[in-house]
């Protein structure tokens, strides 16, 4: 964990490789976002600053569409920040695996988005910081370049939805979820998370369902994680959560 070698360890390349197919989709949505922001009257510079600092597609789309459809500044900000609130627990989950100076951890946190987080997840709460950085950097570049091309008027790609690219994200998440559900606890947590999200989508502002669903992982408090030794915890003897 503390080596200071200067060679490029395989983890980075692996992260880049695994993120590549998604980078195509992220790029296309970046173009779409650039087009939308331009249509909403955002300057090229402001749009690029938005993608460079926020780097979160759903939140950026939400903010611009609320704002451009006459919503108040507060409404647009709240919608975007609610959508990004999931990054607080996501950031906390990778934090133990991030070493180095504070600015480096802060930067890695910025490129920890859904896709790079998922790609670097090794199960059991472990994350590979190199895969995270490799995947995150590629996706960041794809998002920024896509935004630049879109805001410059590049409508030649067609809508990402027409290419089915909006289905690429849940498909990746599902493929990776299947690999994560090793035991009954994980299955229960996943079902709980999905159910909470499904119920709350029509009832709460976008973003809230995901945050609320993430509380499903608290069933992990019921029993220690599988590798942990059973201490004086009576719940450890229980059959099921």
């Amino acid at each position: 964990m503390k080596e200071k070698r200067r060679t490029l360890p395989a983890g980075y390349a692996e992260g880049v490789r695994r993120a590549a197919p998604l980078a195509v989709a992220v790029f296309a949505f970046g173009v779409a976002f650039g087009l939308l922001a331009r249509a909403a009257g955002f300057s090229v510079f402001v749009t690029l600053v938005f993608s460079a600092t926020t780097f979160a597609g759903s939140a950026q789309f939400a903010a611009v569409s609320v704002w451009s459809s006459g919503g108040s500044l507060v409404a647009a900000v709240v919608a975007a920040l609610l959508l990004n609130a999931r990054y607080a627990p996501i950031g906390a989950s990778v934090a133990p695996w991030l070493t180095g100076p504070w600015w480096r951890r802060l930067l890695i946190g910025q490129i920890t988005v859904d896709e790079s987080w998922v790609i670097s997840n090794e199960g059991g709460g472990r994350f590979d910081p190199r895969k995270l950085a490799g995947a995150g950097l590629l996706l960041y570049a794809a998002w920024l370049v896509g935004t630049a091309i879109g805001v410059a008027g590049g409508g030649f790609l067609g809508k990402p939805e027409d290419l089915g690219l909006d289905a690429a994200f849940p498909a990746l998440f599902l493929a990776l979820l299947v690999g994560q559900v090793h035991d009954r606890r994980a299955l229960v947590a996943a079902l709980l998370g999905g159910a909470i999200a499904l119920v709350l989508v029509p009832l709460t502002p976008a973003g809230v369902p995901i945050i609320a669903a993430s509380l499903g992982c608290l069933i992990g408090l019921r029993r220690p994680a599988p590798p942990a030794t059973p201490e004086d915890d009576p719940a450890a003897e229980d059959g099921l959560p």
């Binding site: 199960g123 994200f169 849940p170 299947v178 996943a190 999905g194 499904l198």
Partner: protein
């Protein structure tokens, strides 16, 4: 002009949301009990993201071409296709469905 304000607030807010965990908890060992919770965060959040990315359009639950894409993805996963194939199959199925409907 207000778009500057929007971008500044959302940008700073997101930087803070993404950065707070790595800044405060970076490199620290977490207690075992918390590890149990964190290890379940991935499956829980993934399932929620699957649901919202497949069925949600704003605050509406809709069944559209994405569902066809996900059905194709399930088939590909059951057949043990590599992840890249799963993604492409889902996108193609959604695109074709959208073109036909």
């Amino acid at each position: 002009m207000t778009e500057w304000l929007l971008v500044a607030i959302v940008g700073l807010g997101t930087v803070a949301l993404k950065g707070v965990g790595p800044l405060v908890l970076g490199g620290r060992r977490v207690p075992d009990r918390l590890t149990g919770v964190v290890s379940l965060l991935a499956p829980t959040l993934l399932a929620a993201l699957i649901v919202t990315n497949t069925f949600a359009t704003g605050t509406a639950l809709v069944i559209d071409a994405r569902v066809a894409g996900m059905a194709a993805a399930v088939v590909a996963i059951v057949l043990r296709a590599p992840i890249l194939v799963v993604i492409v199959v889902a996108a193609v199925a959604a695109a074709v469905t959208r073109a036909l409907t």
